[in-house]
């Protein structure tokens, strides 16, 4: 298994796109931290990168990579290797490279420029988001054989989580503003990994506002040790469940 991971990892490195992604992240992070003497702007830039760019790149790159390596997968399948092992190695190889790209590109400048709870939380959350969207890519690529359709599903997934979901939540908030929906809203966030990630960072970044009335509801849940654990558990589930479903499908798939 380690050898397959190694092969995939090296293959992705040879691809150069991930290297470019790393470079762009690094450029963006270092320059936004260097722009001003306080780290607030840099943190906001990286927050937007985590919530927007990282999911997009992770899901698109992983989907396309999976479609392009279908011949390689078929070749591997002809060998005496378990299907589960192949699929898992692919997942680990891709996740590893996306996480490494994020960590080197954005994580290191974060830890250098903001070595506090905000920075550490952002690094952890960024890595988790990378893995989650690689897992979602696995799901979308296994759903259909058609490459264009698969990539389309990936883009739709990303659009849904990055934009549509928040729009829906906003709509719900204003439709039901007469009702005590705060607690329900906390539960709703569990349905989007990006929202979970955002709120965890928000609690560190905008701690003053979160101590106020409006944030208190979220602080009371997400701010506690249990809330933190629960939301991280949900984030992990967001990586595990899509991958697990794709694995099931892959095992029984007629290639």
């Amino acid at each position: 298994m380690n050898r397959i991971i190694k092969i995939i990892f090296l293959d992705i490195l040879k691809n150069k796109i991930v290297l470019a992604y790393t470079l762009i992240l690094a450029l963006l992070s270092w320059s936004s931290f260097g722009l001003e003497d306080n780290s607030a702007k840099g943190l906001l830039t990286i927050l937007n990168v985590i919530l927007f760019t990282v999911p997009l790149v992770s899901i698109l790159f992983a989907t396309i990579y999976l479609y392009n390596s279908s011949e390689f997968i078929e070749l591997l399948l002809s060998q005496p290797v378990k299907r589960k092992k192949i699929w898992l190695s692919l997942f680990l190889g891709l996740s590893l490279s996306m996480v490494a790209a994020f960590f080197i590109g954005a994580g290191i400048p974060l830890l250098v420029n903001a070595p506090d709870s905000v920075g550490i939380m952002m690094v952890i959350v960024g890595c988790l988001i990378s893995i989650i969207f690689v897992a979602l890519a696995f799901l979308s690529s296994i759903l259909t054989r058609d490459k264009a359709k698969g990539i389309g599903i990936a883009i739709m997934t990303w659009l849904y989580f990055a934009l549509l979901f928040d729009g829906l939540v906003l709509f719900l908030l204003f439709q039901f503003s007469e009702y005590p929906i705060e607690k329900a809203m906390v539960a709703v966030t569990a349905f989007s990994p990006i929202d979970l990630a955002r709120i965890q960072i928000l609690l560190q970044l905008d701690v003053s506002a979160m101590m106020g009335y409006t944030g208190a509801i979220f602080k009371d849940f997400f701010g506690t040790a249990i809330g933190l654990m629960v939301s991280f558990m949900f984030l992990c589930l967001w990586a595990i469940i899509p991958f697990y479903i794709s694995l099931k499908k892959f095992k029984n798939k007629d290639l």
Binding site: I201, D206, G212, T214
Partner: protein
């Protein structure tokens, strides 16, 4: 020369003659007896030890000095020290365990309707009220360390409580754990200078109906609800620090019905709200720093003719928020770190006006749970379009001369 020395010796001889010593190893062991023996202008020296004499009342003009902090213990039953004469000086005592009462407000040290009293360099520990000036004039409260560990508002009194007084000086005291650190009601022409008020249950400083006062260079940190200044005219608030006042209804500085006042050179950092203004008018807010607050300023629509100029707004979640569409205040020449305009003529002033009120600040004001969506991409997009074409936010909420660089304050 000889004459002068002679006079000096004579003078010091007189001084010496009027010193009464109290201590465990001294002939006189009771403070009450010493006060009874003393005449006007005498000095009572109290040496180290624990004195449990119930209520000690000073009813003549004496100097009451403690040597290496003798402890006056109220045993949780009595008011410890009552001052009922003009010109008394109390210095160097450790006053502990005053009684608790809701009708009489027993205190560590209380001044009753007197002038020119000086209370300095004392340590007050675990009292109901710390120092209480009732109808005092020209009194000085200086360098005292006042501490309590109140948990509930109704079970603890104020650190320094001043009522119906004039010309007080409250200087360099450290207060923590009381209900209000410093409380002023009907106090005029007074100054609060260089005090540190932290971890009080309610307010660091509470100000009511106290005209023509100034508070300068104080630190108010981590109090239950910050600082409240209410129903007052002509207050000067200079160079204070308002920090880490966090919570539901916590404000760095809460202003209610204030007029003709000045807020200059203060620093508001890491508060839920830096300044909350309600019904204030003709206030000048100048050269302050608002840093890392949840809301820099909340200006309710009931405020008018306030001028907010030359301040730095840096790293706040929201710089400004309001609850209506009426804007009768002026913003001028502030630095906003959220400003994204340009400066073609390089004069340091941005060429496009800045709208400090974000759409999302208005949204959360109407629907608090919307905070859940803060910093999401969707909201950022909405905010951007609102900045270009204001429809929900009042369009005259505007700084026409935003600065390109932060002021060095």
């Amino acid at each position: 020369m000889k004459n002068i020395i002679f006079f000096f010796l004579l003078f010091s001889f007189f001084l010496q003659a009027k010193v009464i010593e109290v201590g465990i190893n001294k002939p006189l062991k009771s403070i009450k007896k010493a006060i009874a023996l003393a005449k006007v202008d005498d000095t009572i020296l109290v040496y180290k030890g624990i004195y449990k004499e119930g209520n000690i009342s000073i009813n003549k003009k004496i100097t009451f000095l403690g040597i290496s902090y003798p402890t006056l213990d109220g045993q949780k039953k009595y008011e410890v020290l009552s001052i009922k004469a003009d010109g008394v000086i109390v210095q160097g005592f450790k006053v502990i365990n005053s009684g608790y009462g809701t009708l009489e407000d027993p205190c560590g040290i209380k001044v009753y309707n007197r002038k020119n009293v000086v209370i300095q360099n004392n340590i007050l520990d675990n009292n109901f009220f710390g120092i209480y000036i009732q109808n005092g004039t020209n009194c000085i409260i200086k360098n005292n360390k006042i501490k309590a560990s109140g948990k509930q508002e109704q079970l603890i009194g104020n650190g320094i409580h001043c009522w119906k007084s004039d010309s007080l000086q409250v200087t360099a005291n450290t207060i923590s754990g009381h209900r209000d650190g410093i409380y002023f009601e009907f106090v005029t022409n007074s100054v609060i200078w260089r005090n540190i008020s932290t971890h009080n249950v309610r307010y660091g400083l509470h100000f009511m109906f106290s005209n023509d006062d100034a508070y300068i260079s104080n630190v108010f940190k981590n109090n239950g609800a910050g600082v409240a200044v209410m129903f007052t005219r002509r207050v000067k608030m200079f160079n204070n620090y308002f920090e880490e006042n966090w919570g539901d209804a916590a404000y760095g500085l809460f202003l209610k019905e204030i007029s003709d006042s000045y807020i200059i050179g203060n620093k508001f950092s890491r508060n839920t709200s830096g300044i909350h203004m309600e019904g204030t008018s003709r206030i000048l807010v100048e050269k302050n720093i608002f840093e890392a607050n949840g809301w820099g300023m909340k200006i309710q629509a009931s405020c008018m003719e306030n001028i907010i100029k030359n301040n730095n707004f840096v790293g706040n979640t929201f710089d400004i928020s309001t609850n209506g569409s009426l804007v009768l205040n002026t913003f001028d020449g502030n630095y906003w770190d959220k400003y994204e305009g340009y400066d073609l003529d390089k004069n340091g002033v941005g060429d496009v006006p800045f709208r400090p009120l974000s759409l999302f600040a208005v949204l959360t004001e109407n629907n608090p749970s919307a905070m859940l969506l803060f910093r999401s991409f969707m909201i950022t997009l909405l905010d951007k379009s609102e900045k270009i074409l204001p429809s929900i936010t009042p369009d005259n909420f505007i700084d026409k001369t935003p600065l390109m660089h932060s002021l060095s304050l």
